[in-house]
């Protein structure tokens, strides 16, 4: 069975997506416009299509059971979240690039905190997927509440910031988008963690599927 091959491709994809997000956020932090672009959305999409096709073909040809069935169905689902994470790496880079054109350069400590927490969630969810570590996956899922709260705090903070520092509307819009993208990345990291648990055990969210 070709599951091992598909598994390796999934791990390559996960690693590439993780590095893309690290690249995007390092770009946000240093705003170095001369940085060589690492993000390659077409590559992520190609991984997604290839893995989906391989999973479907393996299910068709091999009629798998037990661990093999959980792996193939889990991989088929998790690539969707990995692909969305890849999209958001591009979104973060685009927002950063758009912000770089403004004279203002502010830092929002809460956003910096949220980004770092979010990156930890991404790293841990992918580690949990690779190692089948259920405890680590559960940590990721539990952390999503913190991200949601921080997101709302920042959302409330932005109008005040605009007023206090007399910031441009467009500037605030990009920060609002950035804030939302980070929150979405954390959501997708949680989803990856949920699929990691499913692949390991057959549990998805609150019940046993297979």
């Amino acid at each position: 069975m070709d599951i091992e091959k598909t598994e390796l491709e999934l791990l390559e994809m996960a690693k590439f997506v993780k590095e893309s997000l690290h690249f995007a956020f390092s770009f946000y932090f240093d705003k170095d416009l001369n940085k060589e672009n690492f993000i390659d959305d077409a590559k992520v999409n190609a991984y997604e299509r290839k893995i989906e096709e391989e999973c479907l073909l393996s299910i068709l040809k091999e009629r798998p059971f037990a661990t093999d069935l959980r792996k193939l169905t889990g991989y088929f689902k998790v690539v969707e979240d990995l692909e969305r994470l890849g999209d958001h790496a591009e979104d973060i880079a685009w927002c950063t690039y758009s912000l770089a054109k403004f004279r203002e350069n502010i830092r929002i400590p809460k956003l910096d905190f949220m980004i770092n927490e979010c990156l930890k969630m991404v790293d841990n969810s992918i580690d949990a997927l690779i190692k089948g570590d259920v405890a680590l996956a559960n940590q990721v899922i539990a952390n999503d509440d913190l991200i949601d709260t921080t997101y709302l705090d920042i959302l409330n903070l932005l109008p005040e910031l605009k007023k206090d520092k007399n910031l441009d509307d467009e500037f605030i819009i990009f920060y609002t988008l950035l804030n939302k993208y980070v929150e979405r990345i954390a959501d997708h990291a949680s989803n990856v963690a949920e699929w990691a648990i499913y692949i390991k055990s057959g549990f998805y969210k609150d019940r046993n599927i297979i």
């Binding site: 069975m1 093999d68 559960n138 709302l152 959501d187 648990i197």
Partner: protein
């Protein structure tokens, strides 16, 4: 996911703790404890060649009424041997012997004479084996042997049996032609009709579809699912997908031992034994 606008309780997806899913501590319910038992195998060993070859070792197993139980396992694991023990066919093999017990409806199978037992426990074999006689006489053979002479009653049994196996519409205009002239799938359904003409409780099936094409196989599988409403079925199969599709319970054998017995859905999704997992995922054969 963040829910800004709806005052809906967030979906609980974190309730799972690590201990709950650690492999063998899973809280799987054993829903089958309420099933009615048809056969009970107790501390059963079976030997070939004057006890020089142990074919079945310490088997303990229950077969439930109106359920399909699949026996699976690699060749030589003892699944067909056990199947043939239920109707005492193995006792025809020279130098074979056994110890332990098999209870049929709470009575030891040796307390029945073989004719009585085999009228209640029918067998369908791998190769369709219609008797060299007409379709009608194939089905009527068993009841006739039991002394039934009433033509109307025999007609009724033949008609119902052929209808039950879905063969009647295909052969109703040629009941007098030889059973051997039918296609392989039809012959196998004729053999099942011959079996159920005796009104058995149990039908034993030893790889009943392995000699058939996919369409005939599908018909037999559909038939098995229908027949379990009236009969208890035990099927030996090498086809794991077939076991997963049609059986309610699965027993996995290896080297004469019963490795795992479980509800089919659980067996193929979350086998409890590492050997079962390795077998169904093709790690060895």
């Amino acid at each position: 996911m963040l829910n800004l606008f709806k005052n809906k309780k967030k979906e609980n997806n974190t309730s799972l703790n690590n201990e709950m899913i650690s492999n063998d501590k899973l809280p799987y319910s054993k829903e089958y404890t309420n099933e009615q038992v048809m056969f009970e195998v107790k501390d059963f060993n079976f030997y070939y060649d004057k006890k020089s070859k142990l074919a079945l070792k310490d088997i303990n197993l229950e077969i439930f009424k109106n359920k399909v139980t699949a026996f699976i396992g690699p060749s030589g694991c003892g699944k067909s041997t056990l199947l043939r023990c239920f109707d005492r066919m193995n006792e025809l093999i020279q130098d074979s012997s056994y110890d332990g017990q098999i209870l049929y409806k709470n009575k030891e199978i040796h307390s029945f004479n073989t004719i009585e037992l085999r009228s209640k426990v029918g067998m369908v074999f791998q190769q369709p084996n219609p008797f060299p006689m007409s379709i009608y006489n194939n089905v009527a053979y068993g009841p006739k042997c039991q002394g039934l002479k009433d033509k109307k009653e025999l007609d009724k049994i033949v008609l119902n049996s052929l209808k039950d196996v879905g063969l009647y519409d295909e052969v109703s205009d040629r009941l007098n032609i030889s059973g051997s002239s039918l296609s392989g799938g039809q012959q196998q359904r004729l053999c099942i009709a011959r079996c159920i003409a005796m009104s058995p409780d149990v039908i034993l099936m030893d790889e009943p579809t392995s000699a058939l094409d996919p369409i005939a196989t599908q018909k037999i599988e559909e038939l098995i699912k229908k027949l379990k409403e009236k009969y208890t079925i035990i099927i030996v199969t090498h086809n794991m997908q077939q076991a997963a599709r049609i059986s309610d319970y699965t027993a996995f054998f290896m080297l004469g031992e019963l490795v795992e017995f479980n509800k089919t859905e659980e067996f193929f999704a979350r086998p409890k034994n590492k050997k079962s997992e390795d077998y169904i995922t093709g790690k060895f054969s």
